[in-house]
Symmetry: C2
Subunit: 598 residues, 2 copies
C-alpha cells in the first residue's frame, strides 16, 4: 500500500522564500497568517492527509461509489467518517471569509493544504474542492440573500457544491447547451435538462448539495451568449435555513471511469427543478468562469499532488529494492549480491525528473495562488491589476502543463517499480489512472493551450505576458548578481529567448492564419510551462545559495535545491529550442490532409 | 464500443516497397509467399481480428480471468471459442517450419498479422505470442526428442508455451534467481521455486502448457552464470505424445493488473515439478535470450498495435463529434451549429502525431522482422551477419521507443475524446491501460536503453551501428536524387548528425565514467528511435514520390504519405538536438545527490 508524507518542509520553504508571505502582513487575510499559525496548519493538515485520508485512497479506488435504485449514492467505506473529521477540523473553512464562518486566511495557504489532501486522496478532495469554487461564484455574483442562504453551510462543509456545464452533446462548446430555464411566477426558474460528468453530483457526505447550473432561459439566444447561471439546491431551503422539500434533480447514473473511482461522477437529471438566477441573465458564462478559473488552478494542483505522492513511493521502492549492480565497482555494496535501485543512472533520471518537477511546480502554483490573493487584496488598483494580469496568463499554463507533467511523473514513478508497478496492490497504477483525468477536465489541455494563445497572450495588448517576461528577466539578473550557484541563469535566458521568439512568431503568423496559432498552441504552452518551472528553479537556487552560505542548519537542504536546479538547467531547459521549432513549424503540414486521408 | 479495421492497404505498401518482399523470392520461406498468398493472409487475418477478436477485447477487460480453488483458470467469455477458431484457421502456424506442421512463411508476414491480432485484442494474442517464442527457443536449443515431443503441438496451438524468469526478489537481475533444479535419476530434474508475472501461466485454452523455466542446478554458481533453462510441461507427455500425468506445477494466484485483464498473469509454484534441460547446463540465459529477442520485437509491435487501434477510434470520433467552430470562417459548416473536431488544429496535431507514428512504426518493425528472416535465411554468411548486426542494434530501440510512443499515441487518442475518453464504456482508457505494460515487461524500457548503449553500440566494434548509419545515409542520398518530395532529407540528415555526435560522446565519455552512458542511455534510445522513424518516412516519401508521378490509382494514398512525411520532418525530427543535449549533459547532475536527499 502506498505511503504519503506531506512535504511540509518544502512548502514552508516556498511560502517563506518564493511566495514571501512575510511581505504581505499588512494585507487583509495575510495579517491572520502568523508564521506559527502557518506552521501549525501545514503540519496538522499534512498529518490529517497522511493518517486519515491516504489510507482510504485504495479503498475508494476498489469500491467506488454505489448508486441505489432511489438515485441516492453511497461513497466508499470510510469516506463519510473522514469527511466529518475534515469538516470538524475546519479544513473546509481556511480561506473562506470570516463573515461566513471562514478562517479568513490567504488563498495561498488553502492551496498549500489542498496539495496534501489531493496527494492523499484526490477523489475525496473533489467533494470539497468543487464546493470552494461554487462558494467563489456565489460570493461574487450571488445576491445577499443567496449568500446568506448557502455560503455559511457550504463553508462549514455541511452542504457541498457542484458545477454543471457539460451535456451529452457539448463540453467545450457550451453554446450547444440544451438545458432550459422556464420562469416560474415566484421569480424562480424551472430547470430541465441532462448534465453529465458532474463530479460529486450526488453522495452521502453532506446534508444538501448546491448545484450551480448553466441553462438557457426560454427565448434567450441559442448560443454561447444566451447562457445563464442558476443555483439549484438538491433540497429546497426553508426560510429558517433548514433543509426542506426535495427538488426534482436526481442522479440518473454514475459513470464508470478510468480512475478517481472514489468520487461520484454523475449524470444529473433536472426535471423542472427549482433554480434561482445567479448574477444577470445571459451572463452565466462569466459567472461560471469565476468558478472555473479557481477550479483550473485546483486541477493544476492535482498534477503536482499526484506527481508528489507517486514520486515519494518510487523513492521508497528504489531505496528498498536491490536489483543489479552499480556500473562503477566502487559504488557496489560488498555486503550484498545486488545494489539498491539508486545506483542505476536511469532510475535516478526518473526520480530526478520527478523531484525537479514537483518542487518547481509547488513553487509555481503557490506563487500563482499568491497572485490570486493579491488580485483581490493588494493595496493599490495597480497592484491588483498586475497580479490579475499574471495569473490570467499563467492559469492555462498551470492547468495544462502541470497536469501533463504530473501524469508523466506518475508514469515514471510507476516505471521505477518495474513489473510491480503494473500490479494493483502496489497502488502505483492508481496514481496514473487518477492523474489522467486532470489533463482532461475543466477544459482539456488543448483548450488550455488555445486559451493561452488565443486569448491570454493578446489580452490588454499583451500586458500580462510582458509582465511575466519582465519578472523573469529581473530574477535572471538577480541570480547572476548572486553568483548563479546552479548555473541556471544562462540556460533559462536561452529558453526565455525561445519563448519570446515563439511569442513574436505567433503574434505575426497567427494574424495571417489563425490556424498557425492553433497548431502551435500546445508546444507554446509547454514552452511557457518549461520556462515557468525553470524560473522557479532559478529563484530557488538564488535563495538557497544565499541561505547556504550563511551558517545554517539546513545546509544539505539548500545544497539539494542547488543541485536539483542544475539538473533542471542541464536536462530540462534544453527542450526549449525544440518546442519553439514546433511552434514555428506552423499549420501547413498539420492541416494539409483532407479528412478522408485519416 | 471501439472499432477496428486492419490497415491491410498500408501493410501491403510496406511489404512491397519498404521490406521489398519481392526481392527475396529465391530464399527459403520467401519462396512460399506469393503476392496472392500474402494478400489473402493479410485480408483474412485482418477480417478475423476485426470480426472475431476485437469484440472480445472489452469483455476480456471487464471479466478478466478467474482462478478456481483447484488452481485452474478460466479465460473470459468467448476466448476459448475464439482460440479454437484461431488455431483452426492456421494463425498459429504461419512462420513455423513445415516439418513441424507450420506453413513455412517468412517471419515478416507473421509479424504483419500479429499487429492485427494485437490491435484487436492484446490480451488474447499473448496466449499465442509467448508460445511462438518458446517454440523458437526449443527449435534452437532443444534436443531432437524435445522438438518432436513439444513443437508440433505448440505450432498447432493445441499446447501453449510460457517463459518463466521473474521471481519475487528478481526481475531484471536474474542472477538472484532462487528456483532450484535437483537432478533425478532418470536424467530429468526436480524444479522447485516460485515464479511471478507469468503471462498465460495457466488457462483453459490449450490441452497442455509448456513452461520454459530458468533455474539453478544444485551446485551451480549462485549468480547469472549458474542459470540453466528447463522445459516443464503442465502435464507430462507420454511416449505416444498423448498427455499424461499432472506435473506438480500450479498457479498460486492471478495478479490484479492495471490492464490486459484478459490474459492470465500467474504466480506459478513449482513443487518438484519434472523438467528437462534445454541446451547446455548453465547456458540458460543464452537459450532464454532467443525467446526474449523475439519477444522484444513482439512487444514493440504491441506499441504500434495499440497506437493504431486507438488512433483509428480517435479518427472516428473526430469525424463524428461536432464541437466548436473552425478558427477560419471559411472552414465553418454553414449547415451546422458546430464543426467536427478535425477543424481544430490541436486535435489534428494529435491525430497527425498518431498517424505519423503508426505508419513509420509499421515500416520499421516489418523492416526489422525482415532482418530476423535474413539473419537466418540469407544466402551468404555475410548477408546473414549483416542482418543480425542491424536487428541486434535495433531490437532495444523497437521495443523501447515504439512502446513509449505507442503509449503516448493511446493517451493522445484518449485525449481527443475529451471527458468521454475517461469513461470505460468508450474503451479508450483500456487502450491506455493495456499499452502501459509494453513499456515494462520483457525488460523495462530503461533496461532496453542500457542494452542499446551498454552492449549493442560497442558489439563487434560498433559494426551494427555503423551499418545503420550507412544505410540511412545511402537512403538520404537517394531521396535527394529523387527530389525529396517531403523535404525530409535535410532534417533527417541533421538528426543523424546529432545521433552520430551523441554516439561519439558516449563512446568517449562512457569509458571515463560508465554512469555517463547510463545517464544518457534513455535519451540516446529516443534519439535513435526518432531517427529510425524519420528514416522510414524518408523511404516512404521517396517511394511514394516515385509512384505518385506514375499514372496510378493511388495518387491520394501517396500524396498522403508525402504530407505525413513532411509533418514528421517539421514537427518530430526537430526534437533531435534536445535529445542529444540530454545525452551530452552527462551523469554529474543525475548522480550528484546522496540517497538521503530524495
Amino acid at each position: 500500500m502506498p505511503v504519503y508524507s506531506a512535504p511540509v518542509r518544502d512548502t514552508q520553504y516556498v511560502l517563506e522564500h518564493i511566495v514571501e508571505l512575510g511581505k504581505y502582513d499588512n494585507l487583509p487575510t495575510f495579517a491572520n497568517a502568523s508564521s506559527d499559525l502557518v506552521e501549525a496548519i501545514l503540519t496538522e493538515g499534512g498529518r490529517f492527509a497522511g493518517e486519515v485520508l491516504a489510507p482510504l485512497n485504495r479503498i475508494g479506488d476498489e469500491e467506488g461509489c454505489t448508486r441505489h435504485a432511489d438515485g441516492s449514492v453511497t461513497t466508499p467505506t470510510g469516506f463519510k467518517d473522514a469527511y466529518k473529521q475534515f469538516c470538524e477540523g475546519g479544513w473546509t473553512t481556511l480561506s473562506a471569509p470570516e463573515e461566513y464562518g471562514g478562517q479568513g486566511l490567504p488563498q495561498v495557504l488553502a492551496s498549500a493544504v489542498s496539495e496534501y489532501v489531493l496527494s492523499a486522496n484526490q477523489a475525496f478532495e473533489m467533494y470539497h474542492g468543487l464546493t470552494a469554487g461554487a462558494i467563489a461564484s456565489l460570493l461574487v455574483k450571488g445576491t445577499e440573500e443567496q449568500k446568506a442562504m448557502y455560503v455559511p453551510k457550504m463553508v462549514a462543509g455541511t452542504w457541498t457544491g457542484t458545477m454543471n456545464l457539460t451535456e451529452p452533446q457539448c463540453g467545450t462548446d457550451l453554446g450547444l447547451i440544451k438545458t432550459k430555464a422556464d420562469p416560474n411566477d415566484d421569480g424562480s426558474y424551472a430547470i430541465s435538462g441532462t448534465k453529465i460528468f458532474i463530479s460529486s453530483g450526488e453522495h452521502d457526505l453532506a446534508e444538501n448539495i448546491i448545484h450551480l447550473v448553466l441553462a438557457k432561459i426560454a427565448g434567450a439566444p441559442d448560443n454561447v451568449k444566451g447562457i445563464s447561471l442558476f443555483v439549484v439546491p438538491k433540497f429546497l431551503v426553508n426560510e429558517d435555513g433548514s433543509v426542506g422539500e426535495r427538488n426534482p434533480v436526481s442522479c440518473g447514473s454514475i459513470e464508470h471511469k478510468m480512475g478517481i473511482h472514489g468520487n461520484s461522477t454523475c449524470v444529473m437529471n433536472y426535471d423542472g427543478a427549482k433554480g434561482w438566477l445567479v448574477g444577470e441573465p445571459e451572463k452565466g458564462l462569466a459567472a461560471m468562469f469565476i468558478m472555473m478559473n479557481a477550479a483550473r488552478l485546483g486541477v493544476g494542483m492535482q498534477g503536482l499532488a499526484i506527481g508528489e505522492v507517486a514520486y515519494q513511493n518510487a523513492v521508497m521502492y528504489a531505496k528498498d529494492r536491490k536489483q543489479g549492480r552499480a556500473l562503477k565497482p566502487e559504488d557496489r555494496d560488498p555486503q550484498s549480491k545486488a545494489d539498491n535501485l539508486f545506483v542505476h543512472p536511469d532510475v535516478r533520471r526518473m526520480l530526478m525528473e520527478g523531484k525537479a518537477f514537483n518542487e518547481a511546480a509547488r513553487a509555481l502554483i503557490l506563487w500563482g495562488s499568491l497572485q490570486v490573493d493579491l488580485s483581490r487584496k493588494a493595496q493599490t488598483e495597480e497592484e491588483r491589476v498586475a497580479a490579475d494580469d499574471l495569473i490570467s496568463v499563467l492559469t492555462p499554463v498551470i492547468k495544462g502543463y502541470l497536469t501533463d507533467r504530473g501524469f508523466e511523473t506518475a508514469v515514471n514513478a510507476q516505471q521505477v517499480f518495474g513489473g510491480h508497478g503494473y500490479i494493483r496492490e502496489w497502488g502505483m497504477e492508481q496514481f496514473v489512472r487518477d492523474a489522467r483525468i486532470a489533463q482532461i477536465y475543466e477544459g482539456t489541455n488543448g483548450v488550455q493551450a488555445m486559451d493561452l494563445v488565443g486569448r491570454k497572450l493578446a489580452k490588454d495588448g499583451g500586458r500580462g505576458v510582458r509582465a511575466f517576461f519582465e519578472l523573469v528577466g529581473r530574477d535572471i539578473a538577480e541570480a547572476r548578481a548572486a553568483g548563479d550557484p546552479a548555473g541556471i541563469a544562462e540556460p533559462l535566458e536561452e529558453a526565455v529567448k525561445h519563448l519570446q521568439g515563439a511569442t513574436m512568431w505567433l503574434a505575426q503568423n497567427g494574424m495571417t492564419d489563425p490556424n498557425n496559432a492553433g497548431a502551435g498552441a500546445y508546444a507554446y504552452m509547454q514552452l511557457m510551462g518549461l520556462v515557468s518551472l525553470g524560473w522557479m528553479w532559478l529563484k530557488m537556487a538564488t535563495v538557497s545559495g544565499r541561505l547556504q552560505s550563511q551558517a545554517s542548519e539546513d545546509k544539505d537542504f539548500h545544497e539539494t535545491k542547488i543541485i536539483t536546479a542544475r539538473y533542471f538547467a542541464q536536462r530540462e531547459l534544453v527542450a526549449a529550442s525544440t518546442l519553439r521549432k514546433k511552434v514555428e513549424a506552423g499549420a501547413e503540414s498539420v492541416m494539409a490532409l483532407p479528412v478522408e486521408a485519416f
